[in-house]
């Protein structure tokens, strides 16, 4: 397990990988390596995502931020508050061996049996027999077949889950054997659920012998790195006393002895000589040998632990490399006469393809598409697990539906709809109250504030740019809430309070209040002076251009009048913002107003200056 360096967004939150979702955030968290506090990593935010545990320092986020991949975590233990000691969650890394197996099974087809990872060791190492027999133990449990059963909903007979069934890659299209007793094919979700529950119960057992703090022999032994000296005496890292290999604690000083890590083929990826970590202030890309502790000084540990365990069970990171879910249930598609499978992945190439032409063909295609959509939606909502399995498909479908409805309803707001449908991708990054423990209102607001800042500065959407670098808070609120697709909406008061936090959190946007009370959002480096400069420039330009018709006044001195609409057009502001900006400039004495039958118009201030 490694501390990985972390990319941060503009709002100083972890940059999420594709498909990664944020699960929980907690502030006032400190980081421990083994027993020791890591300097500079003692006050920060802990972000739990579906793929990683991230720590981001509150003081110097760019420098002191690390992440740990969940896939390298073996288990997490909860340690309650005791006297002055804050509650902690201890994260144990996976022993190297099982990590190899897992990553292989994630990337390769489940049908291929994972090659025995320990074989090179056995063949190469000149080890005594006793050790080999010791070593033979781990392979027996790590690639263990899923020992799960599913209960037939028809006859309630317990059937074994087929050995080649992998919950991570299986889809509704996977062929399932019928019930052994009644011969009825089981519904996909039943088997999936059984497999998942079996997998989760297998994944969180009591500590196995191989998962005691794994590490490596420190000191000079690292030269012989590829072949750890199994069976040789272990020298204590603290007092250097050479202990018997079977001892777990030093006989002299009772320091925990490092378990002999069973280094496998990928040993070359390891860091050579880990220095004592507690003395190291720069930890990214260093290996964690023992365990990491997250110290929760401000609560939230229970939820974090819960969600972390949930994430470890769900293993979303496996999905990252998984092939897209193929369209489900060809069996039902076959039942409809003439329905041809439109997908290429169809495992039944022999299915009768009826080629229809003309309107009949179009209608038939429409019918098929509807049928397909119905199946997808039907399957997805059948069960939550199933929804998770087909999440990708559902999101894609939702996007196309949104795009279609956008095309049919209005012509002018095509852009808006584009933003909305794109924003489905950004859904993973939204902060919801659900992600935070109930008491931490402030944390919710600060997270929401960061969330908003990211949303605004995201160049893909360019929301602020399109509005001329300034937009009213109400506009932003509506766009933001719409981009959340109607779930986890933000209340106006929370929204305003989050926006007020921008300045405090030093985020790249700021909230500005106009004289009339209108609240607008703009880049932090944008100021009234800049706007005034822009307007001044504009006014100077107007003085250069002779008007179209002769005017009674001296245009070379007074220029001509501008309206809020013109200003909005020129600077790409909304009209409300333009009116406020003009009034701001008036307030500063740059402009003066003319009220007439044409409405309110602004002139460069010829009264005070000329």
């Amino acid at each position: 397990m490694f501390f990985k360096s972390l990319d941060l967004t503009t709002a100083l939150r972890p940059l999420l990988l594709p498909d990664e979702t944020l699960l929980f955030v907690q502030d006032a968290v400190g980081l421990y390596e083994g027993k020791y506090k890591i300097p500079d990593y003692q006050d920060g935010h802990a972000y739990l995502t579906s793929h990683r545990v991230c720590y981001i320092s509150a003081g110097d986020p760019r420098k002191h931020s690390v992440a740990i991949d969940l896939k390298e975590i073996d288990r997490a233990e909860y340690q309650a508050r005791f006297l002055k000691s804050s509650p902690k969650i201890t994260i144990y890394p996976k022993p190297q061996k099982s990590k190899t197996d897992k990553s292989r099974s994630a990337t390769s087809s489940p049908a291929v049996p994972p090659p025995s990872a320990s074989r090179p060791n056995k063949s190469l190492s000149p080890l005594p027999q006793s050790i080999i027999s010791q070593q033979a133990a781990p392979p027996s449990h790590s690639p263990a077949p899923i020992n799960a059963t599913w209960i037939c909903p028809i006859c309630s007979f317990s059937n074994p889950v087929p050995s080649n069934f992998d919950p991570a890659t299986a889809t509704a299209a996977t062929n399932l054997p019928p019930c052994l007793a009644c011969g009825i094919k089981p519904p996909f979700t039943t088997v999936l659920k059984a497999a998942i529950s079996a997998a989760s119960s297998r994944d969180s057992p009591l500590p196995r012998p191989s998962s005691v703090p794994a590490g490596e022999i420190t000191g000079s032994n690292t030269g012989n790195h590829l072949l750890p000296l199994k069976g040789e005496s272990v020298s204590c890292p603290r007092c250097t006393f050479v202990n018997h290999p079977s001892l777990r604690e030093c006989e002299i000083c009772a320091a925990p002895l490092k378990g002999q890590s069973t280094s496998t083929g990928n040993g070359d990826s390891r860091v050579d000589s880990p220095a004592p970590f507690y003395a190291q202030s720069r930890i990214p890309n260093t290996e964690v040998s023992e365990s990491i502790k997250l110290s929760f000084r401000d609560g939230g540990e229970k939820t974090f632990h819960e969600r972390l365990n949930g994430a470890l069970i769900q293993r979303k990171w496996l999905l990252q490399n998984a092939p897209p879910v193929p369209p489900p249930s060809q069996s039902s598609a076959q039942n409809t006469p003439g329905a041809t499978s439109t997908t290429l992945e169809s495992p039944q190439p022999a299915a009768p393809r009826v080629t229809a032409v003309g309107i009949a063909g179009l209608e038939q295609r429409g019918l098929e598409a509807r049928m397909n959509n119905q199946l997808v939606i039907g399957n997805a909502f059948e069960d939550l697990e199933a929804l998770m399995a087909s999440a990708k498909q559902i999101v894609a479908l939702a996007e196309t539906l949104a795009r279609e409805s956008g095309m049919s309803t209005s012509e002018g707001s095509a852009e808006t709809h584009a933003v909305l449908s794109e924003s489905a991708a950004a859904l993973g990054m939204v902060t919801t109250k659900d992600m935070l423990s109930s008491g931490s209102e402030n944390l919710y607001l600060s997270e929401l504030s960061r969330n908003l800042a990211e949303y605004l500065t995201d160049d893909r959407k360019g929301i602020l740019q399109r509005e001329g670098g300034i937009m009213s808070l109400i506009d932003l609120w509506s766009v933001f809430n719409r981009s959340r697709n109607g779930v986890e909406l933000v209340s106006p008061s929370d929204f305003q309070r989050a926006a007020e936090l921008w300045e405090k959190l030093k985020l790249p946007v700021r909230l500005r209040r106009f004289k009339s009370g209108l609240l607008v959002v703009q880049r932090y480096d944008w100021s009234d002076e800049k706007t005034v400069c822009q307007l001044q420039q504009w006014m100077d330009e107007l003085r250069q251009v002779p008007p179209d018709e002769p005017v009674p006044w001296d245009w070379s001195i007074f220029g001509r009048a501008v309206t809020a609409q013109e200003a909005a057009q020129r600077f790409m502001w909304s009209v409300g913002v333009a009116a406020e900006e003009l009034e701001m400039a008036e307030d500063r004495g740059l402009l003066c107003r003319e009220e007439g039958i044409e409405g309110l118009r602004f002139w460069s201030n010829g009264l005070a200056t000329v």
């Binding site: 009674p552 006044w553 001296d554 009048a561 004495g589 003066c592 107003r593 007439g596 009264l607 000329v610």
Partner: protein
């Protein structure tokens, strides 16, 4: 009363600036605007030898009505400009360049007619005193009519001045101890010391 001069009145450039006719919300701009209005009104009255300004008549005159721009200062606005002019500079006004004439408006109510002091009474008093000294008439007795319409004063600025305005001026000289006014209403005489 005063005969319009041959040369037409030269309006300042701001007179053709449309925002000139809109009350400005910015205090600094408003100050500048009022200052400009004040000097325009004074210049207008000086040009036309006008001492009393009746607002009701003036709002339709070119002073307050710019026909080319189709803009005008309405009665209320004109009133606030004169109001500003009546205040002293310490009060944030225009240096007492105007003074409302009570009860002179008749049916038009208060604040209908105002003195416009393109020279303040004190300044007029100085002008008259200088003229008396310059022509060696100290100790002489003159009627007010002589001062206003006499041949001797034809070249003077106060020639043809409003009777009441002249009385205000003379009263100031009386207070300074430089003149004495006697005689009945309409038949006043004045003696300069």
């Amino acid at each position: 009363m005063a005969t319009p001069a041959a040369a037409p009145f030269q309006f300042p450039p701001t007179y053709n600036f449309p925002p000139f006719f809109t009350p400005q919300p910015n205090t600094n701009t408003r100050e500048a605007q009022l200052q400009k209005w004040s000097s325009l009104i004074q210049a207008w009255c000086r040009h036309h030898r006008q001492y009393r300004l009746s607002l009701v008549e003036a709002v339709d005159s070119p002073l307050f009505h710019n026909a080319a721009l189709r803009k005008r200062l309405d009665l209320r606005e004109a009133r606030s400009v004169i109001d500003w002019m009546t205040k002293s500079e310490e009060e944030g006004g225009g240096g007492r360049r105007a003074e409302w004439i009570d009860g002179s408006g008749g049916s038009q109510g208060p604040k209908a007619v105002a003195w416009v002091w393109w020279r303040r009474p004190e300044e007029w008093a100085d002008v008259v005193a200088d003229w008396v000294e310059g022509t060696g008439q100290k100790g002489a007795v003159l009627t007010v009519y002589e001062l206003l319409q006499g041949e001797a004063t034809e070249s003077q600025e106060f020639y043809g001045m409003d009777n009441e305005a002249m009385m205000k001026t003379l009263n100031i000289l009386v207070k300074r101890g430089k003149a004495q006014v006697f005689g009945s209403e309409g038949q006043e005489g004045v003696k300069f010391f």
